[in-house]
Structure formats: C-alpha cells, structure tokens
Symmetry: C2
Subunit: 293 residues, 2 copies
DNA sequence: GGCTGTCATACCCGGCCGGTATCACCGACG
DNA sequence: CGTCGGTGATACCGGCCGGGTATGACAGCC
C-alpha cells in the first residue's frame, strides 16, 4: 500500500498550487466537495497531514511541500510514459514542424528539443549527418519557445535536447558536450561602441540610452521586455536596446546590427542531453553522431 | 487525456514482466479477466497496441517495451513521492538501523543508502562531521544489501547515497566526488601470491585452484557464488577463492587474509549522489559537509 | 478427439467517484 | 451586533467502473 493514483496526485498538486480548493476544483473541471474529500482520503492513506486548513485559505505543511515536488516529478514521469509510448507505437498527435524522413524501414521517431534560433549551424550539420547514417530514425525538431528544454525531456514531449550551459541545467539528464563558444554583444551598427573590437559585461550593462533587453518582467531593469528574438532584433536595429548572445547568433544578424565579442562573459557550452534512463538505439546513434561532428 | 493511472501501469508492467496474464493476475492478487480488460482499455486509450497476443503467451510490441521502461520509471517516481512524503511528515514505517539523533529542533530525517561494508572510514567521518553541524537532520543509514543504491534513490527508500564508480551508475542523479582509491586483491595469507607487493588483474583472473568469487549466477566462471561479504571472507580464509575490492576493504580483513594492491585495476571513486530534483536543505548541508571532509 | 492451457467475452454486483444541497466557521462591515 | 460573503467540510444520492465468476474461442498435444 505504498502507492498513489495519478488522479490523487493531480488533485493534490492542483490544490497545492492554488492553495484554494474552489479554484483548484475549477481548474480540474470538477466540483469542490469531491476534491476536498479526495485530498482528505489521500491524507488518511498516507497517514500524514498535507495541508494546514486555517480559515482564509490553505497552507502547505512540510510533508505537503515534499509531495508537491515529488508528485510533480511523478506526474511528469507518467505523462512522459504516455507520450513516448504513443510515439513508439506511431499513434502520435503532435503537429510539430520539421519532420525529416528516416530510412523508412523502422517507423521510429525521435523528438529533438532546441532553443529556437540557437546553434543553427550545429543543428543543421547534426541533422544532415544523422540522416546519412544507416538506420537513422526520423527526427522531429521541436523549438521550445516558452518552455525549458529540460521540462520537455521530463514530461516526454521530447526525447533528446540541445541545451546550453550555463542557461539550462543538465541536472538529472545524461549529456555529452558538443561545442563551446564565446558570447557577443549585439548592438546597433551605428552605435559608437560597435566600432570596438572587444567589450566587457560591465560595458554593456549600462550604456547611456541603451538599456539591456529583458526576457521577462521578473528581471529587474529599465530595458524593454521582449518576447521573441525577432522583436529583439527589431528593437536593436531601432537603437532601443542591446543584448548578449552566444557567438552563433551571428547567423541571424541584420545589416543594421553589429556584434562585438565580450571578453569576460562566461563561455556557452552546447550539450546534447537525454533522460538518463533512455534505452533507445536511435537515440544512441544520434548522440554518437553528434559527438563525432 | 494524456495521462495514466498508476494502477494501469502496475497492471501492464506485471503483464509485461510475466508475459502471461494468469501469472500476472496472481502476482497482483486479482483474477485474470479484469486484468485482460484493463490492459485492453489501456491500449484503447493510448491508441497503441502494447502486446502481441499470439496463442502460447504474449510478446511485447515496440510500444510495449517503451511503456515497460517508462512505466517502471513513473511507478518508481510515484512510490518515491509517497515514501518521501511520509518521511517528511513523520509517519514513517521503516524498521531501518542506524538512526542518529539530529539537533532535535527539526524532525527532519534523511535516509542514506550505502553499500554494506564499504567506505567505513569515510562514512564514519561523514556522520560525525554532519552531526556536529548546526541544523543537521537525523540520518538513517540504510545498508543496501541486495539492491542497487540507485534503485533506492529512484523509488524513495533513500534520499541520498554513497555510490562507487565504476560499479554504480550515476546516471540521472546529481553527485559530488568524494574520494578515489585503488583496488586490492584479497587472498589467503598463506598463498604464494600473498607475498607479492603488486599484482595485475590478469594475475588474479586465473590462479590455479583459486577461482575468482562471483556475486551472482549470471556471471560466468568457475568460482563459488557468494551472497554476502562474510561468506566471502570465510571462503577466502579457507583457501577456496580470491576477490577484488577497493582499498578501504582493508578495514575488515581477517588475520588469515592478505591484501595485495592491483596495479592495473581501475580506481574506485566514491561519490555522494542524490535525485537531481531534490530541494532539501538538510541534504544540501550533508553534501557540503561531505565535500569538505 | 478430448484435454489442457491460453486469453477474451458476458454478466453481475458493490464501491467509489462525482454532483447537488447544505452546514459550520470566521472575518468584514455598516 | 447581526448580516453577509467566502472558506472548506459534511450529507446524501446516482451512475459508472473495477473486480469477481462463469464461460467461450482457439491452438497445441498426447
């Protein structure tokens, strides 16, 4: 009797995230009373108090925090199992871009998550080299717009990913190092600093009238909040902001952009990463191909 | 609709492991027909054929193999969630040895999995040093007799483990390196080779009349199959076998044993390892203590 | 051809999952 | 101070589904 149904986990996680039975029930598409009862049953079966119900909302106990973390991981594992099984059986429902035919014999497929517009060159070479391998699977390239590649691997939307330290964490995955590159400042071609052969992070941190762009409202600073890379490119060309990128970003620079190496920025290392427990031949072949590029 | 209940996963994994509905049902403590139906429903919901039922048993399809692997991982994650939640809430049911009082304030507990009789010295120093830390949790030492430490971490029986490469795989865990040591051959003190100051793996591989001990019947070879380290020590003292161990094994040698360094054996590295998604202060403190020893 | 052993089907029952209605409680507020 | 709004808990009920038993379809085998 040391197991939980995923339904119970979904319910508890919803309540723990909302800290409110009513909203959680709404999110789950059900009424509040059965939800209350289900969580109570879960608490009884675990023999542990998960929530501290003082009037005016709900608070997590220490055990509740633990179950929130571990339960999320378990739910991810369950949905990953479903997604990967469907994919292996050919009953997939993704409308993803970039399907590349394999050798036709096996109907294997591999979903590769990449950060949009990063490491073009590497990705291109990798896909070409892999497609040339005998026995290669079809590779779907899944650009992770808003989401972390790590999340994609965890919940099964992807089988393998290109990740970039120090931006992504490789924790919990197996990985191989592929390339290392420096970082560059991307600024308007007309700006005085664009003539320099080298800059420092401090230089670009506070250029008068040219604040650093931010990817989210959470980051403090005066710079504009941007949502995609095209928007950013536009704003740079308009002399409104400056940004820092790995060197491979030179691939998408405009004529009105200038790139200057940053002397003291940490190098960006591109890894190919996959769930540690993977046992797929197609994946192994892709990794081997990548490391031999 | 991209999720599974753990019940369905348990059922399918049982069938996939037994490749026989009747035996699987027995193992699950239920009748065969509901099990058949449940697996059929699972196949319908996934839209994928998992089993190839030709008369005379059952075979896994490619998708079935995938679900077996991924489903096991998901089930491990679910039971880990339950175990760790119970532990965090103080409603634990383990009868494990080695409970060591923390500083009393927090009722936190940490289960540390170790290979029985490995790295005594290191373990001792670690426990002492950790207990001296302010805010340390109670540490339960869980000797993993038959089981891999990695499995203990995966299914929540342990929170952290001492693991030894190249014997254990660190895949999927975060880890820090602690110590490196060479390996020694443990042989009867009276044996001629015991006088040597150094040996090679080839030397001990085929000593006439002294075959290498095996831990499992799966390993081929003429040596005796042993089940625990005491049994092995006995057999060595009786001139029946020889074995290879990390240097720290000197701690438990008998008077009738001799230890000779192995010149070409790969070094054994002891790591402290934990699930990559862990977010526990007590664990972080233990890791920091360990790396500072 | 019966026998054995496999998995699937048919049918029934009880439990539990979820919904509606309501309660108990507290804080805010005029 | 009574009322009201909003919280989660309780009571009750109906339908679904998970599980059991009995049986069927089908292949291999002596």
């Amino acid at each position: 009797m040391d197991t939980v149904e995923t339904r119970e986990l979904r319910y508890f996680v919803a309540v723990a995230e909302e800290l409110h039975f009513g909203r959680a029930a709404e999110r789950l598409g059900m009424a509040q009373p059965p939800l209350s009862r289900a969580v109570q049953q879960l608490e009884r079966r675990l023999g542990v108090r998960l929530l501290e119900r003082d009037r005016r909302g709900v608070a997590l106990t220490r055990a509740g925090e633990m179950l929130l973390h571990e339960g999320r991981a378990a739910l991810d594992a369950a949905t990953a199992a479903v997604r990967r099984t469907r994919r292996a059986g050919g009953a997939d429902g993704t409308g993803s871009t970039g399907g590349t035919g394999g050798t036709g014999g096996t109907r294997n497929r591999l979903v590769l998550a990449v950060k949009a517009a990063a490491a073009h060159e590497l990705l291109h070479k990798l896909l070409d080299a892999y497609a040339a391998e005998p026995g290669a699977a079809a590779v779907e390239v899944l650009p992770s717009g808003t989401c972390e590649q790590g999340d994609m691997l965890r919940d099964g939307r992807a089988d393998v990913a290109l990740m970039h330290t120090p931006f992504n964490s490789l924790a919990g995955f197996d990985s191989e190092e592929l390339t290392t590159e420096g970082q560059i400042a991307v600024l308007p071609a007309a700006h005085p600093l664009a003539a320099r052969t080298s800059l420092t992070l401090a230089d670009v941190a506070d250029i008068p009238g040219l604040p650093l762009a931010r990817w989210s409202h959470d980051t403090p600073g005066p710079g504009p909040v941007i949502h995609d890379q095209t928007e950013l490119a536009q704003l740079i060309a308009l002399d409104r902001t400056v940004a820092v990128f790995p060197e491979s970003a030179r691939a998408w620079l405009w004529a009105k952009h200038a790139a200057v190496p940053l002397a003291d920025a940490p190098p960006v290392v591109t890894h190919i990463a996959w769930p540690a427990h993977s046992r797929s031949l197609a994946l192994a072949l892709l990794v081997r191909t990548a490391t031999r590029l």
